[in-house]
């Protein structure tokens, strides 16, 4: 019985945290957020050196061949530092191809995804469609696509897009494909720029495997992890502020009212880590729990993350509501995670159905 991260996972997380502490400073987050069209470059830089784009790519294709739990703890760090590199989307495309691609597709794409020389994202939601994130709602179809997708993260950086098609199918579209155009959206979370992507007779290549559900499950776990990181950051900022800010000749952390506000969200947030760990582990090793616990993780952890972040703003008083103080980035990070890929209530309903309710 070992319900904990392995030493390797802990070391990876430590090195990612170290990199992000230096790289994704508050000033860096703000600069990225302010930039009109922020350029991550081939964003990866040191992330490539740490092998992060390769985490879920099988070793035979140049990847690290690691499990979702490993990816999820990296995602948690990304949330803690509000880091913009679209590793979540990129990893989901790599997962889709490794689980559902043809041999030729795997050979063509996986090594480049692992090395980070190309960046990938996915396009699932369709504007104005009921249940827009769910594969059953996708309407886009054909081997030449005409239509659009919305809320596509980092579409401007992506060399490769995984597009959700009618019938729950997945297809690959290259960035320089004919008829592809992007429109930047005015986003809530400036650390995840999103786009409308329009297709006009755009060629695509179908993945033969029926893996949209699994990709969704993995994505939900990663979102939950990201949200938990953002929540932890908001909580840590609040506790630090409570220990340093003085009013009425006392540290504000000595007031029971504030203590209880902090504790009442902390007791909800602390167990969240163990829920997303289990959901990741279920994806990796307990198939009959994978789908249901991915839904639980997303719904539960992101709901609580927003509660924590909102408490954090109040705990800071006026300064917590300023743009200049970095807290709002973590609030928006949590809000994004809560809404993207479907609201908690939608996933709770899925969990109910999957539980035989």
């Amino acid at each position: 019985m070992y319900f904990d991260l392995t030493d390797e996972q802990k070391m990876l997380k430590e090195s990612v945290d170290g990199f992000l502490a230096d790289t994704s400073t508050d000033a860096a987050i703000a600069a990225y957020a302010e930039a009109e069209t922020p350029d991550n470059g081939k964003p990866w830089g040191a992330i490539v050196d740490m092998g992060l784009p390769a985490i879920v790519v099988p070793e035979e294709f140049g990847g690290m061949g690691m499990d979702l739990l490993t990816l999820s703890v990296v995602m948690e760090s990304f949330g803690y530092y509000a880091y913009s590199a679209p590793l979540l989307q990129h990893s989901m495309v790599a997962l889709a191809i490794s689980l559902g691609g043809s041999d030729a597709q795997k050979q063509k794409w996986l090594p480049k995804l692992a090395s980070g020389e190309i960046v990938a994202t996915f396009a699932f939601a369709e504007a104005g469609v009921e249940g827009q994130w769910e594969s059953s709602a996708w309407k886009l179809a054909g081997d030449k696509l005409t239509g659009s997708k919305t809320h596509v993260v980092a579409a401007n950086q992506a060399d490769l897009m995984l597009v959700g098609l009618a019938g729950g199918k997945l297809a690959l579209v290259e960035r320089d494909a004919a008829g592809l155009s992007l429109e930047a959206l005015n986003v809530l979370d400036p650390t995840r720029r999103t786009f409308n992507v329009s297709f006009a007779d755009t060629p695509c290549e179908l993945l033969p495997g029926d893996v949209a559900g699994k990709v969704r499950d993995a994505a939900l776990v990663c979102l939950a992890a990201d949200a938990n990181g953002a929540a932890q950051r908001a909580l840590d900022l609040s506790v630090d502020y409570a220990k340093t800010r003085k009013q009425f000749d006392k540290l504000i952390g000595s007031f029971q009212g504030l203590k209880y506000q902090i504790v009442d969200v902390a007791i909800q947030q602390e167990p969240c880590r163990y829920l997303f760990w289990y959901a990741a582990h279920a994806f990796d090793a307990i198939p009959h729990d994978a789908e249901r616990f991915a839904a639980f993780a997303k719904a539960h952890v992101t709901d609580i993350a927003v509660k924590v972040a909102r408490m954090a703003v109040e705990a800071h008083g006026g300064i917590g509501f300023t743009w200049e103080y970095p807290l709002h980035y973590f609030l928006k990070r949590a809000m994004f995670d809560r809404t993207y890929l479907g609201l908690p209530a939608a996933h709770r309903e899925r969990a109910a159905q999957l539980g035989g309710w």
Binding site: M1, L275, F296
Partner: protein, 391 residues
């Protein structure tokens, strides 16, 4: 990450299962239960942290074995350690701080339920602020003479002895003035009065001491050391998943209720509000259970599990109250009744209808009080956990 038990522990589980199969038949016969318990101690399954000299099985600490034993005994509905304050609090304190004669006199009979102990801590004026207690103990000749009152004494009217915190050093400071005494409850100077509770049960008592007496050497630790003595705990195996297994068990019972009830002529399970609320609760239950797995893992390696340990009780309290809230929504007019057997969630004598949930709905309030109020829990988490400054 691996939720399976290693072969060593799987073999241990099989060993426990064989033992139970061979030695336990469900029964209420006290003699048979006692005999089984002694066999279980002989096999090393119960009282593992208590030395053999005092009736325990003196096993090396092993959190996973303890967990397996709890699970298997629970499945077989076999009796485990005797419940109550004696085994839970007094015995670890005596093992840690008691004299040899005290251990020999009291421990074994407590382990087998022959001696039942009342905890004499809280007073009408000393609840959360326990250290302000006023019950006085004066050494007169070879006896302590005790005057005062204790309250919330669980099962006080059924106990033989009491372990109590008493102010014996009135000139000393608040904490330094307290001693830990043992007392025979059956004496003229002790009057016990049951207190009826809001759920109809009378599990607590007031205890009045009017020149009650106890021998001078029925003190654990030295004079004025009582506060520290009461805080001593043996390095016994912590029950890291205890809290969450209780939460899960209550949730499973609530699910049964929801599946058997209708709202407006339709199954409650299909009611969208109930579904959503239940799945919210289920999220908390799962997170709590998995945090228990983490704590079990860390405890088995003698490593700290961080903040979560201090949060368990408060989490359970809040989730149990959420569940009470759902129950209240769906039992309808059964909510106008009380169960026939006051204070019992599981009806012992007659089958209870949904009104047995009324007991849970009311009694869930008591979770926020017993063993440290929720606000005291919050203080501890804030100050010791997050290191926030004291008031």
């Amino acid at each position: 990450m691996d939720l399976r038990l290693s072969e060593q522990y799987q073999a241990f589980r099989r060993e426990v299962q064989s033992f139970l199969q061979a030695n336990w038949q469900p029964t209420r016969d006290k003699a048979a239960i006692d005999a089984f318990r002694r066999k279980a101690v002989g096999a090393g399954y119960l009282y593992r942290s208590i030395p053999k000299a005092y009736g325990g099985s003196e096993q090396p600490a092993d959190v996973l074995k303890a967990h397996i034993i709890r699970e298997e005994f629970s499945k077989a509905k076999a009796p485990r350690e005797v419940g109550g304050n004696g085994v839970g609090m007094l015995v670890p304190t005596l093992i840690d701080c008691g004299t040899e004669w005290q251990k020999e006199r009291f421990v074994e009979k407590t382990l087998y339920g022959e001696y039942l102990w009342a905890q004499g801590y809280s007073e009408p004026g000393a609840g959360s602020d326990l250290a302000s207690l006023k019950t006085r103990g004066e050494l007169v000749g070879d006896k302590w003479i005790i005057n005062g009152q204790k309250i919330w004494t669980s099962l006080g009217d059924k106990c033989h002895y009491m372990f109590m915190l008493v102010r014996t050093e009135p000139e000393a400071g608040k904490h330094a003035g307290i001693s830990y005494l043992l007392l025979d409850m059956k004496q003229p100077g002790v009057t016990i009065r049951p207190i009826k509770q809001a759920n109809g049960a009378a599990e607590f008592c007031e205890v009045f001491f009017d020149n009650a007496e106890t021998p001078a050497d029925w003190i654990v630790g030295t004079r004025g050391e009582g506060w520290n003595v009461s805080k001593s705990t043996l390095k016994h195996e912590r029950n890291s998943v205890g809290s969450s297994s209780g939460t899960l068990s209550l949730y499973n019972q609530l699910v049964k209720l929801v599946k058997n009830v209708e709202i407006d002529g339709k199954p409650a399970m299909k009611n969208p509000l109930i579904r959503d609320r239940m799945m919210q609760i289920e999220g908390y239950v799962h997170a709590h259970v998995f945090s228990g797995f983490y704590q079990l893992t860390k405890d088995s390696r003698n490593e700290s599990s961080g903040l979560i340990g201090a949060m368990n009780k408060l989490i359970h309290t809040i989730v149990a109250q959420d569940m009470a809230g759902v129950a209240a929504e769906i039992i309808g007019a059964d909510g106008l009744l009380m169960p026939a057997e006051a204070g019992s969630f599981e009806a012992k004598s007659r089958p209870a209808g949904n009104e047995k949930w009324v007991n849970q709905i009311i009694s869930s309030l008591a979770l926020a009080m017993g063993g440290g109020t929720s606000n005291i829990q919050r203080n501890v988490i804030a100050e010791r956990g997050f290191q926030l400054p004291k008031d």
